[in-house]
């Protein structure tokens, strides 16, 4: 039978505030020695009390606005009670009845990641956001045989919990959703979004049903996914596994699953259990929040253009392909770098905007990304500033250097941070465009390679590139390739007719 999958996603975003949600301890728990960023409040010592970190509230509102949510104008905190050693107070301060943000949506570009040719094929999907609220993270447990060790450094770090409606209809859509969410929180500076470090934790819940059915099947949850790929692969795996079970007439069990990355399979972590009784009630230690227009607009004013809007603007104004726009807007600093290159190329008049954008995009997504990839440097560590890259592009455009030389020059710029012009001058790399000089080179090459010239004239056209290469060699790579090719063609044609 054919099945369709219904997926909802619950995501926890660890904020990158400096201090914790309800106390002033450092929130930088990653890599810290156990229990060194702790105080009476985040250890749940008797008598300790919480105090709200305003920045964390504003970060959550920013995410809500980015997800087109309504923002609660009056909200409060609640205690969610459950027992676990990493939860020091026996309750988590969270929000239940009145989430800070609710009823939103996110538009994402979904690509078919299995086709291999996914660069341009995509569709845009709207995924509704049910709620996004603020809460505190728990500590961490390390298991060692028959004991566990608790480290509370992470206890109380601000978390945003984002819950979608069950609008996600494929593994690729789940990938696209989380990827877009990650880009957004990074753009906003709200979180590192590092799934590997647990700063973004996506937990899909999914069920299968016969295509066209309007009832839901048995739901499973997948936890502990530490990469986008794991999210996609685990869902794809579950679709296959459950389809097979259903085809064989088996029941799906309601379980919580984990993902074994090495083996590429899901494993049962927990069987269905009794419904939790969290005993929510309003947190008496924290007065309510009132979010008025003034505060809301001040927060909104601090938000940058978001990835999808930038993507669409790059396509519209710069005439970029969907692929270029996507890779250039994925990261905010890269997009800003790119825009500065374009601006430097066009000046203030925006002349030749699309042509400038095209060559800037080629350079950034080509050579710059290649060298960044090879050296592992992030965009913020690139020594070539946008104006310098524009300078290099202009040297190519005005034919001072050819494209091959430009690549060499760029490698040098990337290593040293020097200007393109200075490198070209110091190394005498300026392109030779003079036809008389180049004609002489062509004649010399043909004279030196009579057999190859003969063979070409006899029909072996592949040898043309060889001869071009020889002319480039003779000019030490500085000859204008277009001019050389034209002259070589003409010279050979002349010999043919002789």
């Amino acid at each position: 039978m054919e099945y369709e999958v219904v997926i909802g996603m619950e995501t926890h975003v660890e904020q990158s505030t400096h201090s914790k949600m309800f106390c002033s301890c450092s929130a930088s728990f990653f890599g810290a020695e156990p229990n060194t960023n702790v105080c009476p409040t985040c250890l749940g010592m008797p008598g300790a009390l919480p105090v709200i970190n305003q920045r964390a509230v504003e970060f959550c509102i920013m995410v809500g606005l980015a997800l087109n949510c309504k923002i609660a104008r009056h909200t409060f905190w609640e205690r969610k009670s459950y027992w676990y050693p990493d939860l020091p107070k026996g309750y988590q301060i969270s929000q239940y009845q009145c989430p800070l943000c609710y009823d939103g949506y996110i538009d994402v570009d979904v690509r078919d990641l299995s086709s291999g040719n996914w660069t341009e094929t995509h569709y845009r999907k709207r995924i509704r956001i049910r709620r996004a609220h603020l809460e505190e993270d728990t500590g961490k447990l390390a298991h060692a045989g028959n004991v566990s060790f608790v480290d509370y450094n992470r206890s109380g770090v601000p978390l945003i919990e984002i819950v979608t409606e069950p609008d996600i209809a494929s593994a690729d859509e789940a990938y696209a959703y989380l990827s877009a969410l990650r880009d957004i929180v990074r753009y906003l500076g709200v979180s590192s979004g590092d799934m590997e470090k647990g700063a973004l934790r996506g937990e899909p819940n999914m069920s299968l049903r016969p295509k066209g059915s309007d009832t839901f099947g048995t739901k499973v949850e997948i936890k502990n996914l530490n990469s986008l790929r794991a999210v996609r692969d685990s869902i794809a795996y579950e679709i296959k596994r459950q389809s097979r079970l259903l085809d064989e007439g088996d029941q799906i069990r309601q379980v919580t699953l984990g993902w074994d990355d090495a083996r590429g399979v899901t494993v049962i972590q927990r069987e269905k259990e009794e419904a939790h009784d969290y005993r929510y009630f309003p947190e008496p230690d924290l007065p309510p929040l009132v979010i008025d227009d003034t505060w809301l607009e001040a927060i909104r004013a601090r938000m940058p253009e978001l990835p999808l809007a930038k993507n669409d603007r790059f396509m519209r104004d710069f005439g970029l392909s969907g692929y270029d726009a996507m890779v250039l807007t994925k990261d905010r600093a890269t997009a800003e770098y790119f825009e500065k290159v374009v601006a430097a190329l066009c000046g203030e008049k925006n002349q030749g905007l699309q042509a400038a954008a095209k060559s800037a995009a080629n350079w950034v997504t080509g050579e710059l990304f290649r060298l960044m990839g090879a050296t592992g440097a992030g965009i913020e560590h690139v020594k070539v500033d946008p104006a310098q890259l524009a300078g290099l592009i202009q040297l190519v455009d005005n034919k001072t250097i050819n494209i091959n030389t430009a690549r060499q020059v760029f490698e040098e710029m990337f290593a040293s941070g020097r200007d393109a012009g200075a490198i070209v001058e110091a190394k005498g790399l300026a392109q030779v465009n003079d036809e008389a000089t180049l004609s002489k080179v062509v004649e010399e090459v043909l004279d030196a390679n009579p057999q190859q010239a003969q063979a070409y004239l006899a029909g072996n056209e592949k040898l043309f590139q060889f001869l071009v290469g020889q002319t480039m060699k003779r000019t030490k790579g500085k000859g204008n390739p277009q001019v050389l090719q034209g002259l070589l063609k003409a010279a050979l044609d002349k010999r043919r007719s002789q």
Partner: protein, 489 residues
Amino acid sequence: MNLCALTIHEARASLGAGHVTATALTRACLTRIHALNPRLNAFLTVNADEALQQAAAADERLRREGAAAFNDQPLLGVPLGIKDVLSTRGLRTTAGSRILEHYTPAWDATCVARLRAAGAVLLGKTNTDEFAMGSSTENSAFGVTRNPWDEARVPGGSSGGSAAAVAADLCCAALGSDTGGSVRQPAALCGITGLKNSYGRVSRYGLIAYASSLDSVGVLAKDARDAAIMLEVIAGHDPHDSTSAARPVEGWEQALNGDIRGLRIGVPREYFIPGMQPEVTEAVRAGIETLRSLGASVIDISLPSTTLALPVYYLIATAEASANLARFDSVRYGLRVPGADLVDTYRKTRGAGFGAEVKRRIMLGTYALSAGYYDAYYVRAQKVRTLIKQEFERAFAQVDLIVAPTSPTTAFKIGEKADDPIQMYLSDIFTLTMNLAGICGVSIPCGFDTAGLPIGMQLMGAAFDEKTVLRAADAFQRNTEWHLRKPAL
């Protein structure tokens, strides 16, 4: 002169004039504690070494600067007791519970830190009903405190240790906490002055939480003037407590001018009920007459929701307590009784570590919050709480002060009510309304019953009107001597 009998203001006069040293005063208190505490069990932990160091430091400063030192250290050299539900740095803090028997915090409650900064000598930690849940100190894991007026009787609770310590002159004054009457009721039963502050007036940071929306730090003192002095030290906004009010510390001692002419006093008929001890009614009526004779006008008022306060209180307080006490899981501090697995360890630890009353309240609160009953119990209780609060607000639009008995009876016998929770709960029936409304009040001695046991009268003021409450209490004490009587020990 019995040094231990000094009030704070008397002690300051003597210390400032050099008639007595803080060390002598502290030694006198420690000696008296040594002599009487085995009988009374008012102190759970005596902080003798540190107290003497604090006293020596105070003497050092007093020698150099004399009374001028009180300008920025108003409690310099004054020996005080601290209820054992307040976190004290380096000093064992048990909350009267087996589960915290060996717990020593690394940090001070804000009010304790403020006492230290004011130069106070911290004599030790006083007994309390376990986690401040009780009206007699019979729920302390470390034994009942005995009433200095009759050692067969309870001192009231839960701040019974502090009340007995002050009444028995083991210290000048003491901190207590009041969630449903835990400062006022023991003050009444021990014949001293007990100030319950408005919710938010004093930081709760470091007060081991019982019911967070009702808990307040209060003062047990020998007179209203001392209560005012203490309040000036411990009051004021604390950035560590989001529910501490951003209100200025007022000159409460300065405001004690003895003049209550024109003060409008309301007497709520719901606070004089059949079944209460007739001597209590008579003494409080007489006290009201005294206030009238001092120039106050007295009118009858009605607070009809009073009868609902008890169930509202027990639903809200126990619900909050059930969450507040969830942190006692044996992971980071406190008792651990190992079980078969982690859940079993939790259950065994809490089963053994908590006493009967605490477990009863955790059970009730857990039930009230659990799925299916939340709206019927907890939300409904919060709505009735609104009615109670509104009633007080309407009353205070009409009167400046409401006067009523603090407790329906004088001190009862140890064990008398121990097996009947509702009877025990009823002893707080006149006090817990104030916690629900968040207002302030003071209990002052207004007479004695035929058995020679003290009777307390409660003066209730609007939220953050401690000034009126203290002024009226002080005016009453300028014209009566109930508060000067001492138990024969």
